[in-house]
């Protein structure tokens, strides 16, 4: 088996070989093939959007995906929930000396696969190799460019108002649970598959058909954190019905064993959409075509507190706030 060596990163012959023999053939991008110092491309739109994100995940191959897929989906989703159509992506790699080249190949291939699925082109890249111990395997940074095709329909935080409903695109917590399950010896990894997926298709269809006030993809910190960010920015409170939040039995079982709360588990292929009550059914119809677990979980209320509330079947209205410590109990 071949491994990444220091020389792969020194800008010399080996670097050249790695780029030309590994990255370029896989990414197969016209722009990238030119090998210029900058990539020049067209975006036929008045408004374009940019987002950037770095991906570090352990293990980098997990059930339902790998770090490569994640790095494409994460950036595609950030563009999509902003109401943009993702077009181009750049990718930058930091690789630890000794990293298996075969693994790198797999990761790069899966980036290409999901870039194709999402309909984006990879247009620039960079690779650095760092000394053993300076990074944990492989880090990937991606930057995405999207165009705004329906300016009047661009979701924005200002559009959120009382009585609107909150929809979620599928069951929550799978990605986080999947990653946790890899650090256990329980056989849970057989069952829990990450939800990592590009969301631009479903979002596109949603935007084509209805007016969406706001969308957010659920990443680190899960549903609870995403809702809190919205509540803060939009100056509203959000009420969530505990019974309605879709969570798979496996995720529940893992949470029970590890003492975790699924509201805080990461997702990588789920988003929430805030829509008017009147558009709710149409929206759900579309969401359910892509994931039958999609459903309405709560509503918006204009209040001063800017909090997220969880209505429980008994036990009062729980506060679902942002946490500093994922695993530390408050009980004394």
């Amino acid at each position: 088996m071949k491994f990444i060596q220091k020389e792969h990163g020194n800008g010399g012959k080996q670097t050249y070989e790695l780029i030309n023999e590994l990255f370029k053939p896989i990414f197969d991008s016209e722009i990238l093939k030119r090998g210029d110092d900058s990539s020049i491309f067209d975006l036929a739109s008045n408004k374009i959007g940019v987002t950037t994100d770095s991906f570090v995940v352990k293990p980098y191959f997990f059930r339902g995906g790998d770090i490569g897929k994640l790095s494409i989906c994460g950036t595609v989703n950030d563009l999509a929930v902003s109401g943009l159509v993702p077009k181009y992506i750049t990718a930058s790699f930091i690789i630890e000396e000794g990293f298996p080249i075969e693994d790198l190949q797999k990761i790069v291939r899966s980036m290409k696969e999901y870039a194709d699925i999402a309909g984006v082109q990879i247009i620039a890249g960079d690779t650095k190799v760092v000394e053993k111990g300076s990074c944990d395997g492989i880090f990937i940074n991606t930057t995405g460019f999207g165009v705004c095709e329906r300016e009047e329909k661009l979701p924005s935080i200002e559009k959120i108002k009382g009585k609107q409903v909150v929809l979620v695109s599928g069951d929550i917590g799978r990605h986080g649970a999947c990653i946790y399950s890899h650090s256990t010896e329980l056989g849970f990894e057989e069952k829990i598959e990450s939800d990592c997926a590009p969301l631009n298709k479903v979002i596109n269809e949603l935007l084509e058909n209805i007016e969406v006030s706001y969308m957010k993809d659920l990443t680190r910190g899960g549903l609870a954190t995403a809702l809190n960010e919205i509540a803060q920015k939009a100056n509203v409170s959000i009420y969530v019905e505990e019974d309605r939040v879709p969570v798979s039995d496996q995720v529940k079982a893992l949470c029970s064993i590890l003492g975790l709360d699924w509201y805080y588990l990461a997702c990588e292929g789920r988003f929430i959409a805030i829509v008017d009550e009147k558009d709710k059914n149409k929206a759900l119809e579309i969401l359910k075509k892509y994931n039958k677990e999609a459903c309405e979980i709560g509503w918006i209320e204009n209040t001063e507190e800017k909090r997220v509330y969880l209505n429980t079947s008994f036990g009062g209205t729980r506060i679902l706030d942002m946490l500093y410590y994922e695993m530390l109990p408050r009980i004394c």
Partner: protein, 755 residues
């Protein structure tokens, strides 16, 4: 002719102080006046006086029983020759720093009048006087005058007016005075009939008595909130109440008319009797001596009983001819006790059968106080009616800065340090729900308004995920105040240091879980403290909190983990084939569960191993049963090893090994439990001895929720005293997280001393 001005500070409003001063002046033939001012009571005496001796002596001898003078300021002033009588003047508002009076339970005289057919107050269901009746729960603002209480709705009839203005009457200036003619009305709502039932006050009350006798659950509005009342001799009825409240196994309080009744079922010490009969009327956790009421108290060895502190409760007990009644606060899971009839009718459907309420508004929610007696000291577990607001006078010189302390996350309270006083709020509950947070926020606003409080510093816990901590940060930012983060277990120790105004000590804080300064979960901390300098010197060796936060509710996870570690065969026989436990335990090898030094969880583990339960369906259920079964005649102790690393550490594995060994030898579980308690007490002593050597300190302070365990506390105290330590435990502020806010205040004061 001389004239003296007196300013009295302390508990001098709402306790018959002004009439007392009036009588003093009359008896001694003095002219002048007395009036409530914001900061206390102001009086001027004028007459043929040599000096103030005769006045001071009168005060010392005849001070009303509920009054407490913290400070007297007096000085001679110019006489006013036109004045020749003594007057009680209307209040004038000054600086507000008066001790706010707490609610007082029914007094003997009122009780006598209540049952006296020939007395005008016969069957006055809201009878009260200068020595009894609601205070804190009906005061809207200070100074304490009737028009600033919820009694203002009830205009005096002529008789009440006469009593109120007659200086030698027990109801002279008693703001809670009222009678059946002019006082509050009762209302009775039936859930079954879905409507109110007509009748006079007494007819409705008698109807309630009948219903209780039939085994019905009655919600009754009292002083600080609603009770759910049921006949404890009717097991089915009690069971139904447990189910409706969804509080399986959680002990419920009993109410009775006199201490003789308690003595039938429990051991009662003289001091317990004194507290029971005092106007504070807390729920006292008595040690049972009979096997009665096991279905009420969750099978524990203690029984929580309080004196019938309202005429209504006393009447119901008399009329139904029941020695005891269950009177548990109407607080549904996650929701604070109900104080309002509209809410009662809305929320208690399916829980109570009927609701009895009156139309006097409860201004402030105040649960019944709870505590126990040890060594002639009352240890508060919950500060509420009869105690709140707890007011503590600082004797030592303190910085003139005011401090607001926001407390903990559970069983929380708020503390204000205002000039020379530390004021602790009533119990404000667990802040996980909107309902409790609303209660907390409105209480915070209420206290600030009531005391006209302005502060320089705001103190809170170190745990960033406590609601109170994020609120403190927000207030600090919005109002540009300095914020002080106080580690949870330090706050426990400082709460007790405050009571005794100690600056240095050895402190042991044993409790469930609190965030430590190293990011781990602390819970068995030993400190050496000098002012604001606190050094952590002891803790149980860190162990994984197997199951994360779920371990708190389901301690069998940790118990299994250690059993399996120590003796897999034992684990298998004891826990059987339990897939979840096996999985959790297996995972602990690879998964990084949070590390803890919690003493509370150790009590959980031992409790599980001794068959005290598998799940804590309410906080500390298993440790409470573990304490209950302890055989107090057993003196045995398990051995333990002190490891001297940076701190002294003790590995729980070795102790658990011996316990498992005893279990396998079929040793009596009461003996094992006692040995375990003794061991924990012994650990404190042995560690304290080492610290005394190294740091030259001999004061030991004990605090934290684990010390609610009376057996442990009493053992620890007596072991320490045998070794010559001076020992302190909380007797003013709650020993559990209810005292955290007070500790936050005192830590901040210590910090300020250094500036």
């Amino acid at each position: 002719m001389k004239r003296y001005r007196y300013i009295f500070r302390g508990l001098v409003q709402g306790v018959g102080f002004r009439p007392f001063i009036y009588n003093l002046a009359k008896d001694l033939g003095l002219a002048g006046f007395v009036k409530n001012i914001g900061e206390g009571v102001l009086a001027e005496f004028q007459g043929e006086l040599e000096n103030t001796e005769i006045i001071d002596e009168y005060i010392a001898r005849r001070l009303p029983k509920n009054a407490k003078i913290e400070m007297i300021e007096k000085f001679e002033i110019k006489p006013d020759f036109n004045e020749n009588d003594f007057y009680i003047l209307e209040s004038s508002k000054g600086k507000i720093s008066t001790v706010v009076p707490f609610d007082l339970g029914l007094c003997e005289e009122c009780k006598r009048e209540f049952y006296d057919k020939n007395h005008r107050h016969f069957m006055n269901l809201f009878i009260s006087c200068i020595n009894c009746g609601p205070r804190y729960t009906m005061i809207e603002s200070l100074p304490y005058d009737r028009d600033k209480t919820s009694m203002k709705e009830f205009e005096f009839c002529d008789d009440c007016k006469r009593e109120y203005y007659m200086p030698d009457n027990r109801r002279f200036n008693a703001q809670s005075t009222t009678c059946p003619v002019c006082g509050p009305r009762l209302f009775l709502y039936s859930f079954k009939k879905k409507k109110h039932i007509d009748g006079s006050n007494m007819e409705l009350l008698d109807k309630v008595c009948e219903e209780i006798k039939k085994g019905k659950i009655v919600a009754i509005k009292g002083i600080g909130g609603f009770h759910l009342v049921v006949d404890p001799y009717n097991k089915e009825a009690v069971e139904r109440l447990f189910q409706n409240k969804k509080r399986e196994g959680k002990p419920m309080a009993l109410v009775c008319r006199d201490i003789e009744t308690v003595k039938k079922y429990c051991n009662v010490s003289k001091y317990e009797e004194e507290i029971f009969n005092s106007p504070r009327c807390p729920i006292i956790l008595f040690e049972k001596k009979t096997g009665d009421f096991l279905h009420v108290n969750g099978g524990l060895h203690t029984l929580g009983v309080m004196r019938a502190y309202t005429p209504i409760l006393d009447y119901i007990l008399a009329k139904t001819d029941k020695e005891m009644l269950v009177a548990t606060s109407a607080n549904l899971s996650g929701i604070p006790m109900i104080v309002d009839e509209v809410e009662a009718i809305e929320r208690l459907c399916g829980i109570a059968d009927i609701v009895l309420y009156h139309n006097r508004k409860i201004v402030r929610r105040c649960d019944d106080s709870v505590g126990f007696v040890l060594n002639n000291k009352f240890v508060l577990v919950r500060s509420g009616r009869g105690f709140a607001p707890v007011t503590f006078k600082l004797r030592g010189k303190t910085a003139d800065k005011n401090i607001l302390a926001l407390g903990s996350h559970e069983k929380t309270t708020i503390a204000l340090k205002k000039e020379y006083e530390v004021i602790l709020s009533q119990y404000l509950g667990d802040l996980d729900t909107k309902e409790y947070i609303d209660f907390y926020e409105s209480s915070l606003k209420d206290l600030i308004d009531l005391y006209h409080f302005d502060f320089d510093y705001i103190a809170c816990d170190y745990h960033r995920d406590y609601f109170t901590t994020s609120l403190a940060k927000k207030i600090a930012k919005d109002q540009n105040k300095e914020i002080v983060f106080v580690q949870h277990h330090l706050a426990h120790i400082y709460s007790c240091m405050l009571e005794n105004e100690i600056d240095e000590c050895i402190g042991f804080a044993f409790d469930g879980t609190g965030l430590g300064l190293d990011g781990k979960i602390w819970g068995s901390e030993g400190f050496v403290i000098d002012g604001a300098d606190a050094k952590r010197v002891f803790h149980l060796k860190y162990y994984p909190l197997v199951g994360g936060k779920n371990a708190i509710r389901e301690p069998s996870r940790v118990a299994y983990y250690f059993s399996n570690l120590i003796d897999p065969e034992f684990a298998h026989t004891f826990f059987g084939e339990n897939k979840v436990l096996q999985q959790v335990s297996k995972i602990a090898k690879t998964f990084n569960f949070p590390l803890t030094s919690s003493m509370g969880r150790l009590f959980d583990i031992v409790g599980v191993l001794l068959g005290c339960g598998k799940i804590n369906s309410f906080e500390a259920q298993i440790p409470m049963i573990l304490e209950s079964i302890a055989d107090k005649s057993e003196n045995g102790v398990y051995s333990f090893v002190m490891n001297f690393n940076h701190e002294i550490e003790i590995d729980i594995v070795y102790i658990l090994q011996q316990i498992i060994h005893d279990i396998k030898m079929n040793e009596d579980r009461g003996i094992i439990s006692a040995r375990f308690h003794n061991t924990v007490a012994k650990i404190v002593v042995e560690v304290a001895k080492v610290l005394r050597e190294n740091y030259n300190k001999d004061i030991v302070v004990l605090s934290g929720g684990v010390f609610q365990n009376k057996y442990l506390l009493s053992k620890t105290v007596s072991f320490l005293e045998e070794e010559g330590f001076k020992v302190f435990f909380n007797t003013v502020f709650p020993i559990n997280d209810g005292g955290i806010s007070a500790g936050q205040v005192y830590y901040t004061l210590q910090l300020l001393k250094n500036c």
